[in-house]
Amino acid sequence: MRGDPITQGQRKGKYMIEITRAGKYSLIIDNPVMIATGMAGFDATAYRDLIDLEKLGAVVTAGISWRARGPAYGPRVVPIGGGFLLHTGLPNPGARNVIKKYSRQWSKSSMPMIAHVISTTYEDVVRCAEALEGSGGVVGIELGLRDDVLPDELTASLDAVREGSQLPILLKLPLHSAVDLWEIAEQSGADALVVAAPPRGTDRDPISGQLVGGRLYGPWLKPQVLRIVGQIAELATIPVIACGGIHTPDDARDYIGAGARAVQIDSLTWVNPGMVEVIARNLGGLELTRAVGALGDEWEPGLGKTQVMQRDQGRSAPPPASPPPQLPELPPRDEDQTAPTDPTNDL
């Protein structure tokens, strides 16, 4: 879903970004930057002193299942070239215990919390969704899937969440099958597509010598995901939320430029938490309505508005990227052509 992102006014004096299907299941946040599932625990308070959480649009909780799950056996973290492999087993004390422990904090926090539900059995997903809606603390449910999920399973899991709750549903698609599955998800009632869950891989733990299977994280995820976000956002009629390897404000902007309505930050949260706030502050200025004088893509800390304008006018444009001879590649999305209309332009 490209273009015309909906901005229906301002809340807390800021912007409003509708990250799910408009209508009954609409979910509006005021900054397009969230923290992805598993990165900040069940309530993000662990990051209270590291990130100004108020600057974020939302935080997605760690995975929650109806039944308690124990941690994985054996090695759980394996460093790989420029990143790492993580295999946790998605441990959690079960939905009721999570709610008991965290729902007060969820309700107190002015930052929207989205619950990540692990898609186990139909019945358990229904109960989990019911309990989460009943807790009153979360504004939406993000549904996670197995990496090798089949279309029928995806549909059944979506049905189960909808049976259990009336919260907006964000569906997190696996990287490798996102292009094949997004349309089914859209038709089956997902209110937003999160592209993508990190791919699974296998590598050898250097400490124990064992092979470990798990999710893969690192900055190199970004180009893999960006391509797919561009392909899906071109066609989808519900919002796309990009997730994968964001490490700089420019990474986040590239996703927005490719048509994502919002972004989720993953492992950067651990390796450089301060930068998560910088990205949220930067993207917070992304005025998606392009109001008078707003510069969508040119914010740098310390750069005054007039300087931005001057710099923008003085820049000689690089030649347009020509498509390669016979290999059609998704063209970069045209930048919004609206010219800045701020009167200071004329100075």
Binding site: A40, G41, A46, T88, P93, V271, G274
Partner: protein
């Protein structure tokens, strides 16, 4: 827990494989760092290594806010290098009231995690014995204070005089490779049960030197299989009462 800057003021080689870094910390909260706690450090702009390193203090000079970090010589650091620090990670080791004899055991694993505790215990007048087994025997002990009794053993789990030592000790801290922690910590428990009538709570603590991806309790990758499945090394570790662990 906060993110702050720190400066490497000096580096010193203490053995063929180990160096000490004098780390001047800017965050005064880190002046309270206790034996057992550690820091998550990013020492380079490079994304290799990607995850923060877990730096273990072996000493602290509160006058000048300088921590001594023990680090393998797998990388060179320059005096003046600035690093980003998140910490402190975990809880300090708890010494039981009245524990005057400490037994510290590094089983086929570097004793680095035990050194700060040892130094503070000595300063406070406690008697300390350090047992180094397997490859730990190669750890450079020249720099340790002479008052510490050091026992070496080729064998990994047992060591000469282990029975007597487990009898007189008021409290025991063991570290080994996380790969073998389950079986080896169980073996130490057996030794202790053989050696003495009762094993009081917290008598035997095992240290779990796991990789710490987040350090905030968020990722749950550092969970130790306790009876409640609630032991996160980065929040309530790195030491756990061996009596509280789940047995598979």
């Amino acid at each position: 827990m906060r993110e702050s800057k720190a400066i490497i003021e000096r580096t010193r080689r203490i053995g063929p494989n180990w160096q000490h870094l004098a780390l001047a910390v800017e965050d005064t909260a880190l002046a309270q760092i206790a034996p057992g706690q550690s820091l998550l450090v990013r020492a380079t702009d490079s994304r290799d290594p990607y995850l923060r390193e877990n730096w273990v203090p072996v000493g602290f000079d509160p006058e000048v806010n300088v921590l001594q970090i023990e680090h393998p010589i797998n990388r060179h650091y320059g005096a003046g290098d600035a690093v980003s620090v998140i910490g402190p990670i975990g809880l300090g080791f708890e010494i039981m009231p009245g524990a005057n004899h400490l037994l510290l055991i590094a089983q086929d694993y570097p004793p680095t995690r035990l050194i700060f505790l040892m130094m503070q215990a000595i300063e406070n007048g406690l008697a300390v014995t350090l047992v180094l087994t397997g490859i730990a025997s190669r750890y450079p002990i020249a720099a340790l204070p002479p008052v510490v009794e050091v026992v070496h053993s080729e064998e990994i789990v047992a060591w000469p005089g282990n029975k007597e030592m487990l009898q007189w000790a008021h409290q025991v801290f063991v570290i080994t490779s996380p790969v073998f922690a389950e079986e080896r910590y169980r073996a130490v428990q057996e030794l202790a049960r053989d050696a003495r009538q009762a094993l009081p709570d917290r008598f035997l603590s095992g240290i779990f030197d796991l990789t710490i991806p987040c350090g905030t309790g968020a990722c749950q990758a550092c969970m130790v299989r306790t009876r409640q499945n609630d032991g996160l090394v980065c929040l309530s570790g790195p030491a756990f009462d061996l009596a509280k662990l789940k047995r598979s």
